[in-house]
Amino acid sequence: MNSAPREPILALEGVRKSYNVGTPVEAEVLHGIDLAIEAGEFAALVGPSGSGKSTLLNIIGLLERPTAGRVRIAGRESTTLDETGLTALRGRTLGFVFQFHHLIPAFTALENVMMPMLIERGRPDAAMRANALDLLREVGLEAAAGKKPAELSGGMQQRVAIARALSMRPPIVLADEPTGNLDTHTADEIFDLLRRFNAAHGIALVVVTHDPRLAARCDRRIELVDGWLVKAAAPPWPAEGPAAR
């Protein structure tokens, strides 16, 4: 990886998030997060339940807006964008892998992988199909292209979801407990797959996980406690910043 200094693919500055603003039950769940993710980084986002992991992931994923602070993704300042601009930026720059695959049951595996491209370009075309098939081949599911999600095992579904997350070749993929629902063997497979894509395509990955085993296999560990970012301390974790490969 190029180690020359350059703009991070994702940068958060002083991000705060409060819920129920202006009501007696107002609660701040993120207290000023500064975070930079470099292109091609493979980071684990860890922390106990209620630490604000999901909220942070949603803010990074442009699914929620911060109450204060700035979010820059791929050189674009997202906080100034309107709803439509945000949706479009999300479609182009971010891929999502959820704990429960969240494939659309009405569509085949191939169509699910095509979906982000279809949303972006409006109409299906041959290139889209070829691209989606390539991705399915990469996740080893070319044979299952015509099957509906219900006909696939949990691990297979998650692999289709990964192929879908990558279909727009986004610079960042966010994975929320991508293996949380799988047995350890399958979880390892999925993790290896993410790792491989990270290496092969230079895609930055932010993986939320409860599994210390998997977190240990990431290049960087971002720990969140009670809405604060914990500076990484002792080894085996590398210091804040891009992983040394």
């Binding site: 709803e83 949706t87 479009a88 999502f96 969240h102 659309i104 949303i119 299906p124």
Partner: protein, 405 residues
Amino acid sequence: MPFELIVALRFLREGRMQTALILGGVAIGVAVVVFITGLVQGLQASLVERTLGSQAHIVIRPPEEKTQPVVDRNISDVAARIEARPQRLRSIDQWESLLPAVVRTPGVVAASPMATGAAFAQRGTASKSVAVRGVDPERYRRIVRINEDMVAGEFRLSGTDGVIGVELAKDLGVAVGDRIRIGTPEGREEVITVAGIFDLGNKDLNQRWVFVTLKLAQTLLDLPGGVSTIELTVREIFSADAVAARIERETGLLAESWMTTNAQLLAAMRNQNISTGTIRLFVTLVVALGIASVLVVWVVQKQKEIGILRAMGASRLRIMTVFLLQGGMVALGGSMVGSLIAAGLVRIFARVFVNADGTPMFVPEVGAALVFTTWAVALFTGLLAAALPARRAAQLDPVAAIRLG
């Protein structure tokens, strides 16, 4: 195929049972609307057709004779009573020069002058009161299609040939070729030969009408060269009132349209239209509510998918379009099926409700215009019904929607 249509179709296909049910609901609604509308239109067309089968659209008469008071009405110490004058049989003044002008009136298709008055028809000791109608057969045929109503002989008028109705023929015991004597209060008499017998489907007219040549009627009624009425056909039957009013204005004569003569029929038709309109309105409402409720359920069921699509970059507008399309497609698809059902009902109706002779009593009119109008209304209703659920879908928060899964 664009993204929105692909997703809408797939969602419809996936919810097979719901799609089938709501399609069925829309189809039945549309079938009811199309069939009832067609039925009423057919019934009304048939009623008008029957009414106008023996009637001119407009009849022009000379103005009524009025008594002119000679004493100023405002003088209160005169106890005056104005007696209405008896209306004698008169000719329309200058009818021959008037006729071309009347024919040129916009909307008028044909005109037939007629000399008509009271008479007695006698044969042997039988004597019946009749109405002598002196017409020019060529012109009269363009007012009333009497050729279609002939049951014996033909509608041929020349010299002393005449045409009478079936009831009169029965009363007098005559057949084609027999002679009857026509006498008028004016004191004139003529023996005419029955050249044809008609059945207008109206007992009174079949009993009373005796057609002779215009010339013979003029002689019998003591109206040399005169005509008592001019009968008109207009292009658009429901414009008869307006055309009649214009003729009255321009000629100073009395012009009475069939709409005035049959005011009760028209009032009945209007009331019928109001009741069918009400039925249509409520059926449309029920269909709209049906579509809306199914779509609301769909939106709730598809929350997760909507959230995923939104996360993958689908804008609110596109999500809304997906559900609007679903509403539109359900409405349009149901309409097509409904139209087929209505067409089937029409066939059954035509077979079940028949006249004594086996011909359909009347055929409900289900034309292309009715069908396409219904489709358009259904489509609009579908889109409108889908608007609220679609808005709801568009406004779903993707985070919440995904978490619900």
